[in-house]
Every structure is written in structure tokens, then in C-alpha cells.
Amino acid sequence: MFATLMQQIANGIVFGALIALVALGYTMVYGIVQLINFAHGEVFMVGAFGGLATYTWVLPADVKQIWYVALPLMVLGGVVVSVLISLAMERIAYRPLRNAPRLAPLITALGVSVFLQEAVRLFYPNATSAQPFPATFITTPLVIGPVTVPASGILLVAVSIVLAILLQAYVNRSRMGRAMRATAQDPDTARLMGINPDRVIVVTFAIGAVLAGVGGVLYGVYINNIDNQIGFQNGVFAFTAAVLGGIGSIRGAVIGSFVIGLVKNLADVLLPGGTAYDYVWIFVLLIVVLVFAPQGLFGEAERVRA
């Protein structure tokens, strides 16, 4: 039992790290434009497919064997695809609705989500069924006592934490980061301070897409299998993590993700129902937290908006 628990905790941390890469995009975009970008999960999904496409069609056969060359190039390919899709989505679907009632972009986001899922299913070769993803990383797992963690899982945790720290520093300490926070608090005044809101919004979507693209490729390397539904499935967890942590908060999104990762994996073995009840326990947790702390764990109690 102890061994199982430890193993589940390890799995939970890896899953949390993965979810965090997606949750950060939800939380950043919400912080700036107050939009739950339901299509953000799909940005993660197309990132994974971008990485796979890079491997399949771009990398020469001999490079495919050398993981430390292949993987960075796949991540780059995935990130480029994610960023392009995400910026196109912002430009075409959301920007025209910037001043529309909030429900309009929300429903548009759902539409974009379905559109991207179906587009990948229809147009990516053979994507009507799950595609194998190459294990372009060290394949020897790390074994600590009773716990076995794939090397790709360790990589996910390390990358996720490093990116979250970089992002936090960027938002807190750079010119563009300050402009982001100013725009989140009062877009009109920010504009009067010479901050171009379109630029801030584009940068925000791009940052979210970079994180999601990295996450998508590393997910493929970790799970070795991707399909057009992975964005939706993981997006639901990531969105929940962002809300749980306090949407708009970077720290909240990361901690919320690890909480969700741990709860999901521990519930699988400790609570009745097993993996079939994942969503039940996660949402029970969300409801309980929101009842007692409606702003989430790290949300600002007063989100001041002009």
C-alpha cells in the first residue's frame, strides 16, 4: 500500500507539472482579458501534433536517433504551431469581440475549441485514431525505492517549474510584465500611460501558447500516444486548476495544478470508483474550495476593475 501511495504521489506531481503548463495560459489570458479561453486546451493539443509533425516530416532519419537534438527541435516545432494557432485565434475570433458582452467570446471560445479538435481529426493524416508519439528522451526510468518515474516525467517537472519561475519573474519585474498587470487592473488607464493593449494581449496569448506547446510535446514524449482529444481532457483539469488556485494568479495556477495532480492520482487508489471517478473528485474539491474561498486559493479578494 505504501509503495502504491508513493508511486501515485510521484505520478501526481508529474501530472500536476503537465497541467501547470496549460493552466498558466488559462490564468494569464483570463487575467488580462477576463476571458476563459476554452480553446486553450486545443493549443496544447496542436502543440503535441506540431511536435509529432516535426519528427515525422522535418527531422532527417539520423537526427531522430539523437534525442538531445531531436527533442529540442520537436519542442520548437510544437511551440511554433501553438503560437501561430493561438495568435490567429486571438486575431480572428476574439479581437473583433473585445467590446462585446462577455458571453459572446466565451461561446466563441467553445466554438474554436471544437473547430480545432475536428480540424486535427480531419486533416492530420490518420488522426481519426490515436497516433503513437516517439519517445525522444532518455528511456531508462528513475527508480527510487518503490517508486518508478520515467525520465520524461522528471523532465516535465523540471521544465514546468523553471518556466513558471521565469514567467513569474517576467511578469513581476519586466516592462512588459508590468504593462500586463496594469492592463489587467485598468485597461483604459494603462492605455493612457502609453501601453498598447493589443500588444499586451498578443504577448499574453503568445506566452500561454509557448507554455502549452512545450507541454504538448513533453506530454507526447511522456505518454507516447496523442489524439485530438488530449487538449480537451487535460484542458478541463488545467482550467479547474487555474480556478482552484485563483484565476489570474500565476502562483495559484501552479499550486492548483499540483493539488489537482495529487488529488486525482491519490483518489484513483484511495477512493471508491478508481480512475472512472477522476472528474467527480476533482470537481468536488473545486466546489468545496469555491464555497469557502470564492476567489480560489491565491486569487485577489478584490479584483478592481474600472
Binding site: 519585474r173 496594469a182 485598468d186 483604459d188 500611460m193 478592481v304
Partner: protein, 276 residues
């Protein structure tokens, strides 16, 4: 172009639906001048500021800054060198005092995306210079002690001074102050007056909206009176103060009973009104 006025508004009109909020209002501000803009509530003073700063696009008319036409976008107006404060304070409440001023530095800073992610040497230098400048300005307005406080925790008068510091951080050539002494006690008002003089002494031209006519007449080089969107009178404080149209605009045609109040406005002696 050095002889061009610091700021020049030419026949600015603003129509909202059927409402003519501004009708051919012109204003000229010479370099190093302080100009007051007064008028009863709803006269269009803030609307005029909004037209100058590109928040509204005037229905007709032109705004020139140092002889060059201003762009119609608030962000670009700030870059061009026109800064403002707000009647209802608009700080970024969840940012610190120093960060609020740093936001003002936004248009004067350059940072590459990669450099700011990796905190390279150019980034460090730029960030340090911006912080130094921001601290200078906080010192200038007298807020150095509280630079790490969240701006929403400052007392009202300090928030107004912080807004001024933030506006100065954009390196403006012209500063627009929208009711800088609203809600201030007499000591704070006097400090604000001294602050505005010191700003002027650094070479920045200033336009001030105020309700407190005494404050305006003792502060400004020239005064413009707006009534119902129209320019009523423009002149030196002495000329404006003595103009019967101004008194009438504020109070209507004066019956005997309000003569004392009229005295107050025309002679600028607030104490005298209720005293005798």
C-alpha cells in the same frame, strides 16, 4: 519649431449623439506657462482633457503639441509628450507606489523579450535606470518613504501626488491636471500649489482644471472659463476675476442676497464671505 506653443487646441468640438459637449473651444499654452481651466459642473472641462489626450476623438478641431498634430490614440499621445492625471484617481491599486511610477516609464523604456526573460545586462541597466528615475520623482513629490506600499493603501492626498509622479515619469512636455486639489485640506492644497510651481520650473507647461477659483487665480498665468461647452472668457486671472459674465455663469444673475458670495469669487477672499 521652438517658437511654437507647447500646446494648442484649435476649435475643438465634441458631439455625443445630440449633445454638443464642446463647441469650438480653443486654448493656447506657451512654454513654461500654467493655464487654468475653470467652469461650472458639466461645462465640458474633463471632456476637453479627454479630447486632448486622445481618449475621445473630437468631432472637429485640431490639437497640436509643440506645433505637431497629436495622434488620436492615447498611447501615442503619451509617447508624444502629453501626460495627465484624473479627477477620480486612477492608479493601479494592486501595484506598489514605485511600480505605479514605473508604469509611467513604460513609453521611455526599451526591453527585448529575450533580454527581459533572461535578465541580461542591458535589461538590468535599463531596469536600474528606470527605478532610479522613478525614485527621483517620488522624492520630487515627497513620497519616497512609501515606495513599497500598495497604492490603494495611500491616503487620498498622497494618491493624487502619486498620480502626478506617474504622469511626470512619462517625460511630458505638457502636463494636464484634472482637479489636483479635490478633497484636500488647506495645507495639502498649498503643498500642491508649490508642487505645481516646481513642476513648471522644470520646464513643463501645465493645464489645471479646478473648482477652487481662488486656487486657480493665485496659481495660473492665464485662465480659460468654459460654460456649457463654450469658451466664455480667456485672460489673465485679473481680467477673468473681474468679468461679470464669469460671475453670472457660476451663480446666475446675482440678487442682493448672494452679493457676499460674489465678493468671494471676484476678490478671491474665501474668509471674507461668511465673516461679516
Amino acid at each position: 519649431m521652438s517658437s511654437a506653443p507647447a500646446l494648442q487646441a484649435r476649435e475643438v468640438s465634441m458631439v455625443f449623439g445630440g449633445l454638443r459637449a464642446l463647441n469650438n473651444v480653443s486654448l493656447e499654452l506657451a512654454k513654461g506657462q500654467i493655464v487654468g481651466l475653470i467652469g461650472p459642473n458639466g461645462a465640458g472641462k474633463t471632456t476637453f482633457f479627454n479630447c486632448l489626450t486622445g481618449l475621445y476623438t473630437p468631432t472637429s478641431g485640431q490639437v497640436l503639441l509643440g506645433g505637431t498634430q497629436l495622434p488620436g490614440d492615447p498611447a501615442e499621445v503619451t509617447t508624444a509628450g502629453l501626460a495627465r492625471t484624473f479627477q477620480n484617481i486612477r492608479l493601479f491599486p494592486s501595484m506598489t507606489v514605485l511600480e505605479n511610477v514605473l508604469i509611467g516609464r513604460h513609453v521611455r523604456m526599451k526591453q527585448g523579450p529575450l533580454s527581459s526573460l533572461l535578465h541580461g545586462p542591458a535589461f538590468q541597466r535599463g531596469e536600474r535606470a528606470a527605478r532610479e528615475r522613478a525614485r527621483e520623482l517620488l522624492d520630487f513629490v515627497g513620497l519616497s518613504r512609501v515606495e513599497d506600499e500598495l497604492s490603494r493603501n495611500l491616503p487620498y492626498g498622497d494618491q493624487r501626488r502619486l498620480e502626478i509622479a506617474r504622469a511626470l515619469a512619462t517625460d511630458p512636455s505638457v502636463l494636464l491636471l484634472d482637479e489636483p486639489t479635490a478633497g484636500m485640506n488647506p495645507q495639502e492644497t498649498e503643498a500642491a500649489r508649490q508642487l505645481i510651481f516646481r513642476i513648471r520650473d522644470t520646464g513643463i507647461s501645465v493645464v489645471v482644471i479646478e473648482h477652487d477659483t481662488k486656487f486657480i487665480f493665485t496659481l495660473c498665468d492665464r485662465v480659460t472659463v468654459l460654460v456649457q461647452g463654450e469658451l466664455l472668457v480667456e485672460g489673465t486671472p485679473e481680467e477673468v476675476r473681474g468679468d461679470p459674465r464669469v460671475v453670472e455663469a457660476y451663480l446666475g444673475k446675482p440678487p442682493e442676497e448672494v452679493q457676499a458670495v460674489v465678493e468671494e469669487i471676484t476678490h478671491g477672499s474665501a474668509e471674507g464671505a461668511s465673516g461679516e
